[in-house]
Symmetry: D2
């Protein structure tokens, strides 16, 4: 249908000086069809730039119409695909397979590849997907295929083999550093002085992955503290008064914050590569480092605890019940006596949460745990009062944890987790589980 | 089946210090299966590096077995695909389509994407395809699908949006310049002095596309001479005695050599983008430039002429027949009288060759013509004695041509050529066609 | 005498791990003598580093003693110099001249040159002079020669031919940007957001001179606003709410802040070169720029006015007297009626201040005026309420001025000012002078 | 006098488009005076560029007149200097000293400093001195003071603290590499393939000093071979057939060629710094390196031997006399028997040459020996048939030597050499001296 749209209008729109004119979805559709046609070969760069510029100026309503257009008009040709499927079923050979593959791929993929011809196109396509994701939640059936095609392409384009690992430090351009402030998702960076505290001291490191086509905007970054011991709280890591450690005296690298930068790259995973690469590089640069751990939040703990049914709570140990009462009292974490009284129970509940609680499909409840355990890390320690910021208390009653990256064992642990769901945990963690009671009842509890 | 191979052997092979040991195809197959398994997620970088290192050391016989393995073991699962095809035919909706797409994609694609995790993986995969191409000619049915998957990936990875255009000049690192010498495919560069002649003078330019993951190896490059007039022969362009022109006095940019650097990227086209981008950039940098033309060989002319049937030759014009006789005499080009006597006939035959001769499917016979006309260029001039080097005489009896890139009209000409097979040619060229005789008979001739 | 000092102590000090030990002035003196000896040739880099490290750790009292040592022990040998002077007087020829020159140069110069061998030595020597300058004020006779030698060397080393002009923008490393904040001497930059306002918008520019041996620390920088008209106040330039102008629409480049960064380079002048170079570069990059002016403070106006003797004030014009009364009233600048009532008188007094008032030796009273007029600029306009910040009111009762850099006339104006003391001023300025009264009496006034 | 020259002519010359016009020495003189005047402050960059451009175009005759002008017109004012000298003799204090210093400095120095304002001025001044040096030999009295001023400035400007050490390798721009070919002064580089042999293999290194203002032209460079043992001949080092050594297997770094690049920097010494810095950097980068030696020519040996008086030769040992006879026979080095027969005598004579022969003022005769011994190196070994190229035979009858840089002992050896003339030599060398005969007589011999 869009073939019938006023493609003359579309054409006149991008010729001449009309940077400030808006464009309709119909015109954009015509341009998209032109871009994937043979005509697009000769003028792809310009057409792609026009389409992306036009998309950027669309209202949310029009953007939705644009995505509907992508879903409807750039889907595989059903008749041709059906024919190809039938032919393959009839005679499955290399030729019918190739034809089937050809018709199965949505024309959107070629459209997206050609949109990438525009200067800055890669970043624009990431932004395009960022606008698609909210629609996806509302109507996965309609927008899912569009997203699947984008995601498939991003998996290929943002292949780790293409990414550049770069240090972020106080010599990094301010234009990138302000993005670090903006993107930090775990422990907010309030201002440039706080940023400087995280980048400039000799015992601090930060690394980011960049894509060569988006050189001024990181994809993901990790902040690292070099310390003597594994720290017991985030406050001690971020303390602006602390004395910086000489790297030669450090034995531990603490990954205390990992942030993805672009919603439009959701589902394209770099985190595992980043942590392992940074650990390896740090090991090479600072040979005295022995231990590589995270200092991680426990985002699901408070919610999980709140959702335990009364019957389950009844069956908990006494210190656990006591802890549940205490954390319900305002200001408990600032009261040393109360905080101490809650310790044993919270740690015990934390151990249940990590080691026993399961999602319906079987993995651990905690999303951060799933990420690190899936990477082959081991749950190393649960820390009481690890994060007593309002956010830390609200989501985890102050608990934080370490995941240990023991590089020689990462692969084996990854496999055990992936194949059998094994949760690698240190004795320090497993010993927190209540001694009494049977496993069954505990499973029941968590 | 390869699941049953001695994966322990494969494993022990790459652990430990075995850089010099060879590896069998069976072991490589096991490693490839491991790489695409969930296990590969944790140790992909290392596995990929091992596989590529192993492949590099394979003999040609073993490399062939490796590609057979890729063809056989990493093809879509026929049963699953058949099921998915049947389900789609039964109920064509988003879900069955997604399933069909999933099963239609050969697992090779994921394998190749993961091989790219290795440092230098992108370049290695290009080399891998270079070893595949000779096999492809011998058995397209077997190896075609493997090649199609590689090619599909390369189309995506080497998207022009990811390429970097860089000037190549006398300040370029020697390690890159020696590759320019090696890759030059049109007019050979004999030594570093000749290279300097093409790069250092102020009226010479060279530009190359690079991929960010292969930063020290160009993909394609073009050599440009800035001149006052359109030159009439390659010798005048490459004359080491010529006086360099000040760029301010140049009105013409002559693209006199374009070379693809990697056989493994055959079919992944960058040439059109390169020429247009370079023309645009030159126009911005040297505003007095008015004309952008190639100085191109005519590789198919002599072969076409030799293959004309006697009956056709009979019907040619007298000067044409005379020219055919002359070019059969050794040394004719060095004899001014003979050369002059052949002029009219050769130019007339050249015009027939470009404007009338057609391949079975309809395009022009000359491959260089197909490339430039397909880019939207116009055949601007045919030059007698344009290239009197042995190669130039052997392939084209000395003819060379210009293709004119008239940027504002490139798009329109591309479309006319793509849609209708229109061959854009200047009056200077069309007027070379013999005046007498009807079009039909001429078509017949060529 | 220092030859007799414990040079063994000095030696043992810098061998071995004594980075934290302090060093005495006597030991430093011994090291300095060693550095200029033949011994210093073999181990100059190390010795220089040790001396500079030692100097850095000196208390102010010891630093003073160190400079005294330099003054006393590294001065020309008086006997040898007297001999050479006598020989020259006796027979003035090339030989006696060379000998005289040799003995006239203080050994300090060679010492300083060799101290520069240390990594980072250039920057350290600048810092060394920074510590010398306060002493110089107290005892010019003693420390003047030391300073003269340093200054002589810096004039040579920081020759404009060696300096690098670099843009400072939002892509500049944060480690340099924080120095811009710190060094800004005219209109303070309160925080990073204010810095961003001065660097990131498309109508803002900043440029700095760097020395290649001090690559991460600017020597001097200038901030520029691209505007349509010459602005009438600094507030309008720095207004965070203003809409940025597209550079293509700018006709005026306003140099609104110039800051020297290092006290240790006092007297080594780069400002003139910087302004002219930046003006030239901006003209090339933004061809539509027509006018290059400063927006400058008037640091001496209020002090000059306050020091006018009563008899002189008596002879002023009525509006001038009225203005003097008004600016004595707190809050006048915020009261539109009062501010307007003071306008004519302040501008008239400003014109007297610039055009009539003279220092004892003849130049204008205002130091900023001396700098720009000496560069060949013209006093273009005096602006009432140009800077109503507390500082602007305190030093200049709100006056600001423009100096116009008319590049083709800069040389001629520089000469007229240097040779004859001519103060180039526009009619807009000269017409502010009171019409009545003779020149003599006015001179008397100012 | 030059004040009276046609400065209007000079002025008109450089205004307007006259890049191709020549300029007279009189006009250049006028421009030089203008440059050092106050006028020069405003237009120094342009004036300096004009003068240097004009100088470049001078014929040798005119260049000589130009240097005469510098000698005559930019020398200290004799009257003022005499006054200052008298005043200092009368009252030697800080003030009269400062005045004396001021008038003792030739105005040439300020002229040269201001010439450096021109873009590329530093390199031009080096070239200017290159043209001065031949004149200096002919008339040191006249041109010596001009040269002394240039040299004094260069000592300051090319201070090691300002120099950049950069690796030269196969990734270096060709524009720099062609200079390496041109400047190589010890073992000529015949073509780019030979250059590649010296730069690309993993066991080869090359480093150069650059000045930041001359970034594309090295000042001095050293070529290094990483080897297992100390090589016995230059041919073995440069053998194109040799197998490259892995750096991890190297224990020795051989500095086999050091070349100064600019005659205009004669007397400004960087070589010592270069060798020591490179040795230090190599030690850090390749920790398994144990020994740092040169492989050096013996340029003065054959000349010294030829000049020995007959009486001295009479008193030599028999093998020495035999060797003198043999090296007089053409082709001896290619005849194994003769070469072997000459060995003992040549080595013995070599030992005398290095250890006993002295210049009138006392240093060793060999200039390369003076350089390395002055740097604190030790004469480590004398090698028979070390360089049997025509040049090597002509200057040294095939001898080559190693100088050992034992970094911890370099300083001490430098001092012993500088203070006492001690020639550090290994036992392998000293043991080559004839056993019989007293020291006195040997001294006599050499």
């Amino acid at each position: 249908m869009s073939d019938l749209l006023d493609s003359i209008g579309a054409r006149s729109w991008f010729l001449g000086d009309n940077a400030n004119r808006t464009i309709g979805v119909g015109q954009l559709a015509a341009l998209c069809h032109e871009l994937v046609s043979s005509r697009g070969e000769a003028s792809g760069v310009r057409l792609a730039a026009e389409i992306l510029r036009g998309f950027r100026s669309l209202s949310d309503t029009d953007a939705k119409r644009f995505f509907q257009m992508l879903a409807d008009e750039f889907t595989p040709d059903q008749a041709a695909l059906s024919d190809a499927a039938a032919a393959f079923l009839d005679t499955p050979d290399a030729e019918t397979l190739a034809r089937l593959q050809h018709h199965a791929e949505a024309p959107r993929q070629e459209l997206f590849r050609r949109l990438n011809l525009a200067p800055g196109g890669t970043a624009e396509l990431v932004t395009l997907r960022e606008r698609l994701l909210p629609l996806l939640k509302a109507d996965r059936k309609r927008y899912g295929p569009v997203d699947a095609d984008l995601c498939h392409l991003f998996q290929s384009w943002f292949n780790r083999g293409f990414l550049l690992l770069r240090p972020i430090d106080w010599n990094t351009p301010a234009s990138i550093l302000e993005k670090i402030i903006r993107y930090e998702a775990v422990h907010a960076i309030g201002n440039w002085d706080e940023l400087r505290q995280r980048l400039a001291p000799p015992d601090r490191r930060c690394f980011a992955f960049f894509h060569p086509s988006i050189p001024d905007d990181p994809l993901i970054f990790v902040e690292v503290a070099l310390t003597a011991e594994i720290p017991v709280s985030i406050a001690s890591v971020l303390d602006p008064q602390r004395t910086a450690l000489s790297p030669q005296d450090a034995q531990t690298a603490v990954f205390y914050s990992i942030s993805n930068c672009h919603k439009g790259l959701a589902g394209v995973s770099f985190g595992s590569f980043l942590i392992k690469q940074v650990a390896q590089d740090l090991k090479d640069a600072v040979p005295n480092l022995r231990t590589f751990v995270t200092l991680s939040p426990v985002p699901g703990f408070a919610g999980w605890l709140a959702a335990l049914p009364p019957a389950t709570i009844d069956r908990l140990e006494a210190p656990e019940k006591r802890a549940i009462e205490i954390v319900g009292e305002p200001g408990w974490a600032g009261d040393p006596a109360k905080a101490e009284a809650a310790r044993a129970g919270l740690l015990s509940l934390g151990a249940r949460y990590f080691l026993r609680a399961r999602r319906p499909r079987g993995g651990p409840v905690d999303p951060v745990a799933r990420f690190h355990l899936g990477n082959g890390a081991m749950l190393n320690r649960i820390m009481h009062l690890g994060d007593i910021s309002p956010g830390g208390l609200a989501q985890a009653h102050g608990l934080m944890v370490n995941y240990l990256y023991d590089l020689p064992r990462v692969e084996q642990r990854h496999e055990a987790y992936a194949a059998d769901g094994d949760i690698a945990a240190s004795r320090a963690v497993t010993s927190l589980l209540p001694k009494r009671g049977e496993v069954n009842s505990m499973k029941d509890v968590a």
